[in-house]
Symmetry: C2
Subunit: 466 residues, 2 copies
């Protein structure tokens, strides 16, 4: 559908006034036409801006935009594609940046009145890399307050009475409706995987440290810069182009893998994780996963679960505490920041962030070190699974996006990969009540390419699961 | 001398107009009088502000100050000491903050016109911890441009025609004259050890990641937040109080060691490193070190060098490339930042920073990964020395501070510990031509306490070396 609309625009210039259903637009797919001379990055961008105009009033995905510079950047990309010399495969790609990540040309407001109009005066490493790859930064996308839990009004494009998830709310919504081909998000608990699942786009939370976080206001050891994208190809390419230019976090090797998405590879053995989210999962969600697992078995893939594999069972047991342990780590690691904000103006902070900070007020360094050791222990338990299972799969959320904008929903399914520091993908494979729900693929540390290879196979061979 | 002057002020209120020789003031030593009720943090601060008034026009150590809030903080500390309930041993300590480290109440200008008046609107983790420990943040100290090599006018208090060293220029100068008991600095090549040596104060560059760097504009994997201080005791305590409250870099255990400075411990065996700086070292500097080593031998300490120990020789060989390898790592890791600055206004950048960025413009991710592997290899070579030597010692600089303000001097002696990611101390033990020169103690990764134990012994037992 998205493709048809684009063609209509490209051929006769007709403006489509409104799209009723969200439809993603893969920029990588579109570049085939640029190379052939049938379309241009500027045309792709203009369609993006039409979608922005029609969708934005309903979904509120953006905090601010810089459209004049975006158009100029798209024109430069157009010239480069015409000359056969794009800076990268994503040259000209419209991209949204979660508003906790710095951009020198736009404010970074972090979903907080305390940073209203605040300017970093510099790009984050990731944004600089994207610009150097030719990407077109069209605007800053809505984040919850300081990428924590307090929502800031973005709506789910599948049903605007429902949450888009968070904290990368605007990034997921903007990708879902095709305004951008990809957007940067961040995740420390469930902030990429959850909104990707709720909005029906691809979500990629990399191995911890694999994408340079410098200039992202995101201070936790589990934090990752992640990608929301229209396809697995787009997600991999955006991540790869960033890392090729600025690496991972300073001192780490950065995302490992080929220059374009790894070829699809059929897994031999998968572990299905229930996680503590299972109790909260809807009948429909469990049913989708159950049917899907049956089809995996039919395709000859061996399935391990807590019921037939001791190592999986051990991991499930160790993950029971994943949420509390993650919150404790994060609580210690952000306490200093919240303290300064409280001193500046406590009334400008949400109740939820004040309460959360209060909970970890008495933690000591010794407590925190014990938490880090416990996390390392659980990570080692997970790493052992690599000997027998190619990846883990799980629901990405307990159900489709819940109704209401007061909460960004339950992150219990997303937190294990955050705690483990390992790559996770949300693949838009399921629907429940006509709303999207993601299948999560959880890979192994620094083996993000393996998660993509499995994910690509699952997307291409079993995508009819919807 | 400093003590005498203070007494004069305290007893009759006379204002000392000018001090001719720099003299440091240990806050920890002064707190003994607070506990006894003979002096107060506010009095200590007022003496600081007199020294600021008399020295600052000659040395230019500060970019800006916040004296009203400093006085109010000192008054609160005074109350707490009176009540017998100081927040920490450094409650009330006047501290300077290098102007690449964020403070919510003052601009962070990074020695660059591109950040003139720029405000982070938040404290760095380290500054927040200091405030929570009761420390009195009196101002931001001069840094070279972006903590790199372009000087910003600070003068050496021992001779104002000479450089104070850099990049933590203002921090070292302010500590040396007693305006503050300690100051935060940063080091990625030689930016703490070098100015400490040149200004004659204690410098502490911790193990990499050991002090939380969040909110310090300092993006390299070798970067450390370090401490310039009036004594080893003050240096340890400041580091310890920061880490007790905000830990090391997120996800790391942070500085390991006791709550107060580890007891002095006589080393059994020390390695003397010449490093590639040796060729540039002055006759006087070599003589001081030579005499000192003789006295260590007389005290029964076994000395290993490249001439009598294969492992030391191997390390010396591997360190020949330390400067180039460090610059390559740093060059890759900061390239994205310089690119954005260049796009904002290339004319606002120094020639030296533009040239340096240019040199690493063509580096690839593969190049950088190879550099990280090489660095890890050299680190392993150094780590092996731990089996035989309690620590390494070396000059902290090739000579006293050189004349002229156009360069911050030669960092070749400081770079090995930066490359190795290990703790280093500069101890103000030597003088050449009536100007200070530091003895460097280089410890092992995450064993900063061991370096302090050795350093404390060297300071207390062999301090007559001057």
């Amino acid at each position: 559908m998205s493709r048809d609309l684009e063609h209509a625009v490209a051929s006769d210039g007709t403006r489509i006034r409104e799209q009723t259903k969200p439809a993603m637009r893969s920029y990588l797919a579109a570049t085939r036409n640029f190379a052939a001379g049938n379309a241009t990055p500027r045309q792709f961008l203009e369609r993006s801006l039409e979608l922005l105009e029609s969708w934005e009033p309903r979904i509120g995905a953006f905090v601010c935009t810089n459209l004049p510079d975006a158009r100029a950047a798209a024109d430069r990309a157009t010239e480069r594609w015409r000359a056969g010399r794009p800076l990268s495969p994503i040259d000209g790609m419209p991209i949204g940046i979660k508003d906790v990540i710095e951009t020198f040309d736009m404010p970074t407001q972090m979903g907080s009145p305390l940073f209203l109009g605040w300017r970093s005066e510099k790009d984050s490493a990731s944004v600089r890399a994207l610009r150097d790859a030719g990407a077109v930064i069209i605007g800053k996308t809505v984040t919850t307050e300081f990428a924590a839990s307090e929502p800031r009004g973005t709506r789910n494009p599948w049903n605007t009475a429902h949450t888009p998830g968070g904290s990368s709310s605007g990034s997921a919504a903007a990708v879902a409706v095709g305004i951008v081909g990809a957007a940067l998000g961040t995740q420390v608990i469930g902030s990429v995987i959850r909104p990707a699942s709720f909005c029906g786009c691809v979500g990629f939370k990399p191995s911890v440290n694999a994408i340079n976080r410098e200039g992202s206001h995101d201070y936790q050891s589990q934090s990752c810069t992640g990608i929301l994208a229209a396809s697995l190809q787009d997600a991999w390419q955006v991540a790869r182009e960033i890392v090729a230019r600025v690496g991972g976090d300073a001192g780490t090797p950065g995302l490992q893998g080929p220059e374009t998405i790894p070829p699809a590879e059929k897994p031999r053995r998968l572990a299905v994780l229930e996680t503590v989210g299972w109790d909260a999962a809807s009948v429909g969600a469990k049913q989708r996963l159950g049917e899907y697992v049956m089809r995996l078995k039919s395709a000859g893939i061996e399935i391990r679960t807590r019921h037939n594999d001791d190592k999986v069972a051990a991991l499930e047991t160790d993950l029971v505490n994943a949420m509390e342990l993650s919150h404790r780590c994060n609580g210690w690691e952000t306490r200093w920041f919240i303290r300064t904000m409280r001193e500046r103006d406590a009334a400008a902070l949400s109740r939820s962030i004040l309460d959360r900070a209060q909970r970890y007020e008495d933690m000591t360094l010794a407590d925190h070190r014990a938490d880090l050791r416990e996390r390392a222990r659980v990570r080692a338990v997970h790493a052992e699974l690599a000997a027998t299972c190619d990846a883990c799969i799980a629901l990405a959320a307990p159900n489709h996006a819940p109704e209401g904008l007061g909460s960004t929903g339950n992150p219990e399914f997303a937190v294990p990969a955050s705690l483990l520091g390992v790559p996770a993908l949300s693949l838009p494979l399921f629907e429940v009540n006509d709303m999207p729900l993601g299948l999560q693929v959880i890979g192994y540390f620094d083996r993000d390419a393996g998660a993509f290879a499995a994910g690509a196979w699952l997307m291409s061979r079993l995508a009819q699961a919807r």
